[in-house]
Symmetry: C2
Subunit: 249 residues, 2 copies
DNA sequence: CAATCACATATTGGATCCAATGTACATGTG
DNA sequence: CACATGTACATTGGATCCAATATGTGATTG
């Protein structure tokens, strides 16, 4: 059984400068293992775990993912690690170079700008498609989501709640692939949001935006709702990118 | 062996600009080979080949991709096949089930509607970002592209030219990730366009659309260009989806 | 002394083998 | 006869081994 022999083998923690701290990576990954549970294949399990750890910021950008190290930590061979890393590369979470290996994609102002521009385009379109189909129940769920966010103090859950709120707005759009693409980019933006939250604290204005958007959507006023959503995303993106640029420079 | 080795590839490979005469030949050779698309790894080679074959319609939707069979055809082991299939799955070109295998994603009206909705949202946004930066040279290149499409009779090249034309329109948007996403969906839509072309023949109206969009973009009239592009994509999508639905039902 | 080359080492890419899983078909039982 | 079960086969998942490639270090040579 591939998960049985987790502990024991990799205890010797040698930390060379400029490389991954094996002990720390091992520790965080083990925590993630608990959270994710065990799916049908080792590859899927690794993919879930690594993605979760990356978007949660547990593995910082720039970290090299050595196949052998990851394999030992999870108690599997290098092969499922390779396949999982391939998948993560296609999802843009790691950068990969043949014969050199994979590193966790670094957080950058450029990527953030990209992500927010894409989100703005897709989410506004999805909202427009979704509004005619929104039910009162959807609106109620949105209000509950906003209230939950008001009460939430844990930054890591805040990202999840924010994502869920946005997705409820678009839930009635007829395009499942579009929704999947949006969710993927919302997950990616979680990394950035959490980064900013940790440094600047939470942003009260976002909640006002959320309320206004939901109200407009509830009235079926697609034009107003889309304009509000556009500036909601654009403002957040602009603030984030500006802050990241000061950090980079 | 599945590919020829590069001559002299073992050397240090540092390219010093200026006087070093020796390494220049090697360097230029390497660049040429790279532009032509020399695959660095078997996995990359398989991914390219399979994607090209799927997009071109050489492998029809629904076809099961047996790892062993593909491996034999390409003269490699199953492992690079597995990794390539993983990548294709992440790109949405094949559907994958654990322990069952991969099948080429089927063409469906539903997926087409999804693809066109996503493209409309993303391409309109990209055009708006790009227009302020468009140069006269870009416009000229667009005109050349339109002319090339007028003359082209080969359907498979027509898709490439159409894609290139669209991408020139968006080339000046500062969001590389957005452009990459658009190109990915343009490639996916090639499958559908080719399908339709083969059945219905080519669509003359699209060329009029292209000219009108390019003219508006050349004048810097972003509003008009975006409206035209939106209806260009929407019309084509609607016609395609309607046609696919009659085929399915 | 600088540049280059040769060699050692670490890491990934690919091949082959074995195990696990799913499917099809035959067989037994109500 | 319908349905459950067991078994054989096909196919994929994972482990281990070997080969190819990149990188770092020290010797050599001009």
């Amino acid at each position: 059984m591939w998960m049985a022999k987790m502990p024991g083998s990799g205890a010797g923690g040698e930390d060379k400068p400029g490389e991954v701290d094996r002990g720390e990576l091992e520790h965080t990954l083990r925590r993630v293992v608990q959270r994710v549970g065990r799916p049908r294949t080792a590859t899927a399990f690794l993919e879930e775990s690594l993605r979760s750890a990356i978007v949660a910021g547990d593995i910082p950008g720039g970290t090299a993912l050595r196949q052998e190290a990851v394999a030992e930590i999870f108690g599997v061979s290098r092969m499922p690690v390779r396949e999982a890393i391939r998948q993560l590369e296609a999802q843009g979470l790691v950068e990969f170079q043949p014969h050199k290996g994979a590193v966790v994609a670094a957080i950058s102002a450029r990527d953030a700008a990209d992500n927010w521009a894409i989100r703005k385009a897709l989410e506004c379109a999805a909202l427009e498609y979704s509004i005619p189909g929104l039910t009162e129940q959807d609106i109620m769920r949105g209000e509950e989501g906003i209230a939950e966010m008001d009460d939430e103090t844990d930054f890591s859950r805040l990202g999840l709640l924010n994502r869920r709120f946005h997705m409820t707005l678009y839930a009635r759009a007829q395009f499942p692939g579009m929704l999947q693409l949006i969710e993927k980019h919302l997950i990616a933006s979680d990394r950035y949001i959490r980064f900013q939250l940790a440094a600047l604290g939470r942003d009260k204005m976002a909640q006002d935006d959320h309320r206004a958007i939901l109200t407009a959507a509830g009235k079926g006023d697609a034009g107003r709702a889309c304009r509000l959503l556009a500036s909601h995303i654009e403002d957040a993106g602009r603030r984030l990118v500006a802050w990241l640029k000061t950090r980079e420079g």
